[in-house]
């Protein structure tokens, strides 16, 4: 499946779950992607979105984080522990336990914030949404696919906490806890990337650019806009992080640019994160 048809599929899937909403936006995204691809291929990396506008309420941030934590918990619960890399079974059990601890905290914050806890959706980690059109048919039979999907879910977690953090501005207890859970997601993601490296994958411990070249289509979406180098200094100024290191000492401009994208994890928008969650839920 190519990127465009994947985006179209997301548009359909998302519209099914939210009849009122987002088909238009995702279709638009697919069209935008079509326009952007040739430029990306040519390496013309100039015009990026200045800065993701984070919109929503603190409850939106908590709910979105909870949906991702549920997703991770279900994934770690369903995976056949017999196919994880030798010696890593305790790691997976530990990560699942930590996700469940996060779930407990998030659910309590949502309740005390007056939010409603939805029922967990149905899960299908093949990406087939209960049908036969699967993106990862061997997710629970092939170790490398399993590790890839696990990494994607943890990186999704990182990017969703990045979304949620600035929305919590008025609640110190929640800022404290979410920052600390955010960091744990980062540790998980790095560990899964380490396990993938040991299984022969070419991957760094941090998100570098959009990682599109190294990953199948669905992940390209998870890493959309991770190639951002413009960082917001304050509310009216942006800074190109890739200009912060000089081109010296055998460091190429491309390496500097890569480092600039790696040095910051980027938030997903609410809609983009929801669309990715819906690849694995129905």
């Amino acid at each position: 499946m190519n990127l465009l048809s994947f985006l179209e599929q997301l548009a359909t899937a998302d519209a099914a779950a939210h009849p009122t909403a987002r088909r238009g936006a995702l279709t638009q995204l697919a069209h935008t992607a079509a326009a952007a691809l040739p430029a990306a291929v040519l390496g013309a990396l100039t015009a990026q979105p200045a800065s993701a506008q984070i919109t929503g309420t603190s409850l939106d941030g908590l709910q979105l984080a909870l949906r991702v934590e549920w997703l991770q918990d279900e994934f770690y619960t369903r995976l056949p522990i017999s196919i994880v890399p030798a010696g890593s079974a305790p790691d997976f059990l530990l990560m699942r336990a930590q996700q469940r601890q996060h779930i407990a905290l998030l659910e309590s914050y949502i309740r005390t914030s007056g939010g409603v806890l939805a029922a967990r959706p149905n899960y299908d980690f093949t990406g087939g949404r209960g049908g036969s059109n699967r993106i990862f048919p061997d997710v629970f039979t092939n170790t490398s696919t399993l590790l890839l999907v696990a990494q994607v879910l943890e990186d999704l977690g990182v990017r969703v906490y990045a979304y949620a953090m600035p929305l919590l501005a008025s609640n110190n207890a929640q800022i404290d806890s979410l920052s600390r859970m955010f960091a744990v997601e980062g540790r998980h993601a790095a560990h899964l990337r380490q396990l993938r490296r040991q299984a022969g994958a070419t991957v760094k411990h941090w998100i570098s650019g959009t990682e599109a070249a190294a990953l199948p289509t669905a992940q390209a979406n998870v890493y959309a806009e991770e190639d951002r180098v413009m960082q917001q200094v304050a509310n009216l100024a942006l800074r190109d992080a890739s200009t912060l290191l000089p081109t010296i000492g055998g460091i190429t401009a491309a390496e500097i640019r890569a480092a600039a994208t790696e040095a910051f994890d980027e938030p997903l928008t609410y809609d983009a994160a929801s669309a990715i969650i819906q690849v694995f839920t129905y």
């Binding site: 600035p166 980062g186 912060l244 910051f264």
Partner: protein, 247 residues
Amino acid sequence: MATQPPVSAPDEAGFSSQLLQSVNRRSFLRYSGMTAAAVGLVLAGCDDDDNGSSMPNSVNLGTGNVGILNYAYALEQLEAAFYAQVVSNSAFATTFTDAAERTALQAIARHEAIHRDFFKAAINRDAPGNIIADLTPNFSNINFTSRTNVLETARIFEDLGVAAYNGAGRLIDTTTAAGKTYLGLAGKIVSVEARHAAQIRDIISLGTFSNDVVNALGLDRALTPTEVLATAQPFIRETINGSNLPS
């Protein structure tokens, strides 16, 4: 939380190009592996701003959000200086014989230098005149030709960085749009520091990515500036004064 003005991005090329020059020049000094002492000498002549403290060897981080930014800037200076020294050591390749480990340390060195320079740019933009001086690292107790010692120090710095950002979030005044931006930024950096920490820990011993730093509630450590500075101070020649930071 105050009402948030719309965030727009007008062109600030003038500001940018002006800022770029000084940032790049200092990056060059740092990144090219110049000794910390030499950098200190060079910078002493052009940056003598210590926010009112008259003690020559004391650095006052200041108050409010600028103080928090200076706090992060100080820690990123420390981390960046450490990794710059690791990767520029003449024995780097023989200390780290695994190319993947060298690549990782070089990447982390770049990330931390970018964080450092980013905070410098942010402070100079948002609070001109309030930035702390460049710090002089004290790595006299680190054996840069010992893989074990370098990795253990890296682990301490990375776990400390994570705990510092986790503890600083609540200290940011988010009643302004700038404050919310800083809170978001702290998040975007904390997970990268956590990735570094997990990787360094996995290099030391696979599977220790969260061992003693994530508690039974699934929470990474959060430390106050006072706690963080107590650990960081032995690695910095100037005395860091965080007593005016929000608490």
